[in-house]
Symmetry: C2
Subunit: 135 residues, 2 copies
């Protein structure tokens, strides 16, 4: 498959405002946009770094994947998102190679992107999301 | 300060060969180079993703920062490295802003780069390294 870039780095946080202030005012990065991903019960805030982004992930409810992550592991790195040209082809390729997936079928992420998570057991502890941009 | 790009994503691993095979053969990414950073007791392997890299971190001794990390947290994300134009100016700026640092003075990293780690308490659980490239 063709991976084009790091689309974003998902970071679990307990509050959006303080980290946004750190990354924009102290580190000089550009705040981009925010979105609620209802299916994942999460509000996300994107911060641009070169061709990539940091994606702050704030759960909107405690009984959500990111809410449970915060409870057990605390704030910090959550996942790495890699942009692919064709996510259906990429997922088919991984299945054929016997790579364990969380999403066997791509589903909708933020901004109408199509996403699929690889199981962290298959990637040596790193949670990796494949993303096909809607734009 | 001016952050140019994500330089790399440091990933702690217990073995280099299997993850290198996954990222290159299965995911189609390009293996770049390897280096031993004696001061950190670590062997690193760089894999290119767009303008950024994954940096696999294999400890050369268990009593090393990454060795201890693996023992307590297991394999996975270790740190995010951001490239800055002028690391001395960046560190001075962070000190002036009262941001807690691990390295108050930049030190040598892989490939002769200058690096300084920010304390993860200051960055909401994310270990962030600033890097000034030697090239």
């Amino acid at each position: 498959m063709k991976i084009k870039r790091i689309a974003h780095l998902g970071i679990a946080v307990k509050d959006l405002e303080a980290p946004k202030k750190l990354y924009s005012e102290t580190l000089g990065l550009k705040l981009k946009n925010e979105a609620v991903v209802a299916a994942q019960k999460v509000k996300v805030s994107f911060i641009q770094v070169g061709e990539s982004n940091l994606e702050l992930l704030l759960p909107t409810q405690p009984d959500s994947p990111v809410g449970k992550f915060l409870e057990t592991k605390g704030e910090g790195f959550h996942h790495l998102a890699l942009e692919v040209e064709d996510i259906h082809a990429a997922v088919a390729e991984l299945k054929a190679a016997g790579v364990r997936l969380i999403d066997e079928t791509p589903r909708e992420g933020a901004h109408g992107d199509l996403v699929a998570f690889i199981h962290p057991k298959a990637t040596y502890g790193l949670l990796v999301e494949l993303v096909q941009s809607a734009h």
